[in-house]
């Protein structure tokens, strides 16, 4: 039973990977590539975010802090030290996110529930303010333009494959973590933290670990995005960016590991389609979101699984 489920999931990921790998062969224009790149990067960001929320029950409203940190690590080193720093700066951004998330985490994991959420928002907005105001260093509202990856990575198709491989590897790692004993403990922390203590396990230590893991992958997503867009801007640190991954997770289903990835794909496509047609796109997207959340409260993937479970049980009843 379990292994069949495992094969099905592996097949699902393989098909998805191949579909993304084929995009540059059919659609060579920069625009579709950029859209597919956005889906990949947002998908990674959303999946890493949902390890915290759907997985462990910690709703962070400030993951943009780490996403932005990853992006600005790339952008600033590019601006001040040159193109050669592009790849190292992605790695440095991840390390910076690890250090910062442990420091911030030690402060804010003391509180839980809505207090935790508000603290994450506060730290996120603080980082945005600093970046926004410090014009001389960060470029303020202008952000940093012309962030072209070095050498062959400068070709959009090559950079796209680079992104695809890193995103696929990251999602694979996150999936392994979620299936591991640690992932099981994290789900247990969400469902019954008191009992986790009675297992001799530390709730806070596990929360800190997942906060760190989630933030590190958010930073990778941010760093990759700098190369997809060839630019960074302070909005990447703004609370709406944190809100975006929450929305993606809700849309795809927070109860499933890969729900947020599907949610990211749907939201990116809707935003793009509506944005191309009207300047009132936030309003339209908002309405679409509201309707989808009302009609599909478990998220797209959650509803599909629910439907399949219902079909299966009714088939069993008919058979029996």
């Amino acid at each position: 039973m379990r292994s069949i489920k495992g094969y099905k999931e592996a097949a699902f990921w393989t098909v998805l990977f191949l579909a993304f790998a084929l995009v540059p062969l059919f659609k060579s224009s920069g625009y579709e590539l950029m859209l597919a790149g956005h889906i990949l990067v947002w998908g990674l960001f959303a999946v890493s975010f949902n390890m915290l929320w759907g997985g462990t029950g910690m709703l962070s409203f400030g993951q943009a802090l780490y996403y932005g940190l990853g992006a600005y690590s790339v952008g600033l080193m590019f601006k001040y030290w040159g193109q050669a720093w592009f790849l190292p700066s992605i790695l440095i951004g991840i390390l910076a996110a690890v250090v910062l998330s442990v420091l911030v985490g030690l402060l804010i994991i003391r509180v839980s529930g809505v207090f935790f959420t508000v603290m994450t928002l506060a730290f996120g907005q603080l980082a945005w303010q600093i970046t926004f105001r410090w014009y001389g260093f960060t470029g303020g509202d202008d952000g940093i333009q012309g962030v072209i990856p070095p050498g062959i990575l400068g070709k959009p198709a090559v950079y796209y494959y680079f992104t695809l491989v890193l995103v696929a590897a990251s999602i694979f790692c996150l999936r392994r973590i979620s299936e591991s004993p640690m992932g099981l403990i994290l789900r247990c922390v969400r469902q019954n933290p008191d009992r986790v203590r009675f297992l001799g396990q530390s709730v806070k230590r596990n929360q800190l670990s997942v906060y760190m893991i989630s933030s590190a992958f958010a930073a990778l997503a941010g760093g990759l995005m700098a190369g997809v867009d060839n630019s960074i801007h302070p909005n990447m640190l703004y609370w709406t960016t944190s809100g975006e991954v929450i929305l993606m997770s809700v849309l795809g289903g927070i109860g499933q590991f890969f729900g947020p990835f599907i949610g990211a794909a749907v939201l990116v496509v809707i935003e793009d389609a509506v944005g191309a047609r009207t300047e009132f796109w936030p309003l339209i997207v908002g309405i679409i979101m509201m309707v989808m959340v009302l009609l599909l409260p478990r998220g797209l993937v959650g509803e599909i699984q629910q439907l399949r479970a219902r079909l299966r049980s009714s088939a069993q009843r008919m058979g029996g």
């Binding site: 640690m182 099981l184 247990c188 469902q191 019954n192 008191d194 396990q201």
Partner: protein, 251 residues
Amino acid sequence: MDPILLLDSVDKAFGGLRVTSDVSFSVFPGDISAIIGPNGAGKTTLFNQITGHLLPDKGRIVFEGEDVTGRTTQEIAARGMGRAFQVTSIFQEETVLDNVRVACLSKLNQARKSFRPVRHFKEATDKAYSILESLGLEKHSDRPAFELAHGDQKLLDIGVALGLEPKLLLLDEPTSGMSPDERQLTRELIRRLWKEFKLTLIFIEHDMDTVFGIAQVVRVLHLGRLLAEGTPDEIRSNPEVVTAYLGEDIK
């Protein structure tokens, strides 16, 4: 023989209300003993202090020769004290197997492994299965815990505690909310688990058939005080206990 658990004049008050009042007793390895008393006698509060969930105001709690007063729940659990709860405390969305397996992984120090899927941890998985078999829950192993009937959820709660291979296991009203038939089965099961896992067991219980059926030692709490301690026969014939709690009809 040294006691596995020793309570030395433990005192606890909530505001002006003394919920535990100068309680002292010793539990020896291999004992199976019951704590009884009317509602509000302080039984669960006492369990909460023993397991580190609450800090006593005064007195000492010694587990395996070491003073554990003021230690955290997590530390005390890691030393080998397990607990099942009055209100079932399991991981509702996880499978029945994973509920027990997470405890086994914790005991085997594998709970922080973060890259190999849970199902590949053979030792923990086998152990979890054998515990489920002892409890008669193995046929439900792949179902999420919330789908189990109430009685089975209570058993699973005990299973989670057993996964830690506790040296001392505290059960808080293991038969509450069960039908008389289920109670009978659970009673037999507890006795069997006690032998099979060579446990030291302390349980809180209101069902007198369970208490007098399986306990070697019975302790009576009344208004936070240890009113009496003795074999089931001694307790049954103790006049103070009869007036305070058991009532005339027990004789």
